[in-house]
């Protein structure tokens, strides 16, 4: 409350009290690294918005409300990243199916993927094939390969969406 009013002497005690509290709160719902990020982000938001604090409200629930929102944001961000990073796993396509119908579907899918890959640049195509068959080019640093793979997957995804929609 004093901090909301502009009393800078209240800053340090509030900081010292809030940091462990927010860390513990964030650790309940997130991995340790994400929890630290969320706790720090929440802490900065609490201080940035301290002037908006309504004195009639309970300070702790206001602070934990901000932290809960931040935890949700970190979780959503993490999920989006996971979705974006999830590679199209060419190697784990269904094995040749038993029934003729399933075989036909698999063949169609193979053809569609090959057709999409064929529209990519030779570098993207070879990167995707190297990943699918677990044959990373010798001498290529892993980070470079990962970067190339991310780009190739993004382009393949875009091409796939163009041709087949969101299926």
């Amino acid at each position: 409350m004093r901090l909301a009013d502009g009393d800078r002497t209240a800053f340090h005690p509030v900081f010292v009290a809030l940091l462990p509290l927010l860390r513990r709160f964030a650790a309940r719902g997130l991995s340790p690294a994400d929890a630290e990020d969320a706790a720090q982000e929440a802490l900065l938001k609490v201080f940035r918005r301290a002037t908006e604090f309504d004195r009639r409200r309970d300070a702790l629930s206001w602070i934990l409300g901000i932290a809960a929102y931040e935890i949700k944001t970190v979780r959503r961000r993490r999920e989006r990243r996971r979705e974006a990073d999830a590679p199209i796993d060419l190697a784990s396509r269904p094995a040749p199916a038993a029934t003729p119908e399933e075989q036909a579907i698999t063949a169609d899918l193979d053809a569609a993927i090959e057709a999409a890959i064929a529209t990519l640049s030779p570098l993207d195509a070879s990167t995707l094939r190297a990943f699918a068959f677990d044959e990373r080019p010798a001498g290529l640093p892993p980070a470079t390969f990962r970067k190339r793979l991310e780009r190739a997957i993004a382009r393949l995804r875009a091409r796939w969406k163009e041709d087949h929609g969101d299926r």
Partner: protein, 178 residues
């Protein structure tokens, strides 16, 4: 970890100060309609813009500082509406005086100043604002009133200053005595 926490504390302090500046800017936005009224009614764009900039700067600094000054500036903005609006309303609602020299406007500024001075002292006492806050409130109210009293020229500004003093001092003395 201690170094990381110290760095985080510095960032938190910066975030806090940013929040305070933003609060100042939000409150200073109230000066825009005041200046618009003054521009419409007074026809002295240079003086209006200068007054508005000074008023906005004072409000921003007071709000950033917070505590007594922040509360004082908010009270000053509200109290200053009286001497701002009275001459502006007179001017826009019928032109009481036809010529440029008119004693009615300074009288309106004087009356507005008296009311504003009394109000700001009452509100400051009510919100437990000390001497520094009262000074901030008086400055902000005076600057806000200036935007309206520009219509009367220098005599209006002088009347406003006298009015603020006449309104504030007796109420302050009475409250002190009580």
């Amino acid at each position: 970890m201690a170094t990381a926490d110290a760095a985080l504390e510095t960032r938190a302090r910066q975030a806090y100060e940013t929040g305070r500046w933003m609060l100042g800017l939000r409150h200073a936005a109230a000066v825009v309609p005041m200046a618009a009224l003054s521009l419409i009614a007074c026809g002295r764009p240079t003086a209006t813009v200068t007054g508005a900039i000074v008023l906005a700067a004072v409000v921003v600094v007071c709000e950033w500082n917070g505590r007594q000054l922040g509360r004082g500036s908010r009270i000053g903005l509200l109290a200053g509406l009286v001497p701002l609006l009275v001459p502006v309303i007179l001017e826009t609602s019928g032109r009481v005086c036809g010529s440029s020299l008119c004693s009615f406007y300074p009288a309106a500024c004087l009356g507005g100043g008296v009311v504003a001075g009394a109000l700001l002292i009452q509100w400051c006492r009510w919100r437990r604002v000390g001497a520094a806050g009262m000074c901030a409130a008086g400055t902000v109210a005076g600057l806000a009133g200036t935007l309206g009293c520009l219509v009367a020229g220098l005599s209006g500004l002088l009347a406003l200053a006298v009015g603020l003093g006449l309104g504030a001092v007796p109420v302050l003395a009475w409250r002190r005595a009580a």
